[in-house]
């Protein structure tokens, strides 16, 4: 086992460990921290698999922005222990367990039946670099890229509408409404 394999295994274990902690922790803050561990580990795996651009995007977008918003909401609510609710009723637990088992089974079957290459494909030094990813995105996959942008626009509009739903029209208000910078996500 060389150093590369060692780090691959290490990051993979960390990712599974982080994901496990994320769903099992009772405190939302610890869940968020475990999720951070998971993002970091996944990013490490991507780095080893010759995708530095993807790895850093993962850190920037998920760890740097999305999870910070999660934290923001967790702190804004700062729920106490009583408010988090106790154990869920057992039929729900059973249902969730069955769902997980089915999903795991499907994935396991898919992975076992897939034809995996025995040797790693030869990659040029340019593979996974920002230039290569950009070129592929704006030539071969430009249609998918543009469709995603429309999807994101729709989601943004939806978020703004939801956030503004309960506001009075500005003319009827005495004081100006607080800024809604967060709503733009």
């Amino acid at each position: 086992m060389n150093l590369r394999d060692f780090f691959f295994v290490l990051f993979s274990f960390l990712a599974v460990f982080g994901a496990f902690l994320t769903v099992t922790r009772r405190s939302p803050m610890y869940s968020a921290m475990s999720l951070l561990v998971f993002f970091g580990a996944i990013s490490g795996v991507m780095m080893i698999l010759a995708a530095p651009f993807l790895a850093l995007m993962q850190m920037m977008v998920y760890a740097g922005a999305i999870l910070v918003l999660f934290l923001f909401v967790i702190m804004l609510l700062s729920l106490r222990k009583e408010e988090l609710g106790g154990e869920r009723p057992w039929p729900l637990q059973l249902l969730a367990g069955c769902g997980c088992a089915v999903l795991f089974g499907l994935l396991a079957v898919a992975i076992l039946r897939a034809e995996l290459p025995r040797t790693a494909p030869a990659l040029g030094p340019e593979f996974g670099s920002p230039e290569a990813v950009g070129r592929a995105m704006f030539s071969e996959y430009v249609l998918a890229f543009e469709i995603v942008s429309v999807l994101i626009l729709a989601a943004t509009l939806g978020a703004v509408v939801l956030a503004k739903k309960h506001l009075e029209p500005p003319a009827a208000e005495e004081t100006p409404a607080p800024p809604h910078g967060e709503a733009h996500h």
Partner: protein
């Protein structure tokens, strides 16, 4: 690598000393001048004092997060300096030696990823302290960093468009040369809008006045570090000054031509030349740091809604317009 971290760890005490001396100068006071020549050894005395202070973990805090938070605040800031090219490559025993710890073509992205991580220390500290002032500080910090990170990223995009690379060395190389023989081709002159946006966002990201809302002593006692004492407190302190140093290094590299000066013979790879470029780099960084300190002692603090207005309604549209402008001009 060791040299770079050594530099950072030494830069911070000098920076603290400079901050206090400059603030004294601005306010027409004397400032620390008792310990050593011009008070230069004052930071050593301060550090010793902090080390021997009692380390208190208050009752009712979330212990794990409370202890982890200072580390989260310091580590990302310290890692940023690894992507900075400090000087021209030098030939050592026939091999070119790059003066940059983390080489490769993703330098800027690493910088953006790490600045985004810096907020976790503050957010965890605010949450774990079980104190309303600390919590408000943490909340403000997370909102502020998320908002200004976007403006910062967009400012960088226009730089990447004009230099056509995300590699830090290529960005520096792109800024060498002159117009009309004496005007340097630095990005601060080619991309003035991006420079202003980046500068303001960098101030906000490092929680410096006029954007130090997360610790705002008039409203929030000490903000997120209200409950911290001793070395844990000083790690926050260290993290803040390291982030300031790192962002000055970044501004120098992106906008002020990095280690280059107009008129330098860039083909040279001798060791004295390389050391000279390192000197040039740190001279530029020192000027920027001086600017940071002067700003702190001359401007009042923003109100929080003003901060959000500035970030979302001024800086981001400005940066977007600049990207379009850059795209149009680059087409010609």
């Amino acid at each position: 690598m060791v040299a770079v971290f050594g530099t950072v760890m030494n830069a911070v005490p000098i920076l603290v000393w400079a901050e206090r001396r400059v603030s004294a100068w601005v306010q027409d006071r004397v400032g620390p001048n008792r310990v050593g020549p011009w008070g230069l050894f004052q930071p050593i005395a301060d550090a010793l004092k902090l080390l021997f202070k009692e380390d208190i973990v208050p009752d009712g805090v979330d212990r794990v997060l409370f202890v982890l938070a200072p580390a989260f605040a310091f580590i990302p800031a310290a890692l940023i300096v690894t992507v900075i090219p400090f000087g021209a490559p030098m030939m050592v025993q026939g091999e070119p030696l790059q003066l940059q710890v983390c080489r490769g073509n993703v330098g800027i992205l690493l910088f953006l990823a790490l600045t985004g991580l810096g907020v976790y220390g503050i957010a965890f500290a605010g949450y774990a302290s079980n104190n309303k002032f600390a919590l408000l500080g943490g909340l403000r910090a997370s909102a502020q960093v998320v908002s200004y990170e976007i403006a910062m990223g967009l400012a960088i995009v226009s730089i990447l468009m004009s230099s056509q690379s995300v590699d830090m060395n290529a960005i520096v190389a792109d800024q060498t040369g002159t117009w009309m023989g004496f005007v340097p081709r630095w990005n601060v002159l080619r991309q003035p809008i991006a420079f202003v946006v980046f500068l303001v966002a960098a101030f906000a990201e490092s929680n410096r006045l006029p954007f130090d809302l997360p610790e705002c002593e008039a409203e929030l006692v000490g903000g997120y570090h209200t409950e911290y004492s001793s070395m844990k407190f000083s790690l926050f302190f260290l993290g803040e000054y390291t982030a300031m140093f790192a962002s000055c290094c970044m501004i120098t590299t992106l906008f002020l031509g990095g280690w280059s000066l107009p008129g330098m013979n860039l083909a040279s790879t001798s060791i004295p030349f390389s050391l000279l470029t390192v000197g040039v780099f740190f001279a530029k960084v020192s000027l920027l740091l001086f600017f940071y300190i002067i700003i702190r002692w001359t401007l009042p603090r923003f109100r929080f809604d003003q901060l959000m207005q500035l970030g979302w309604k001024t800086l981001i549209p400005l940066a977007l317009a600049n990207i379009i402008l850059t795209g149009v001009l680059a087409q010609r």
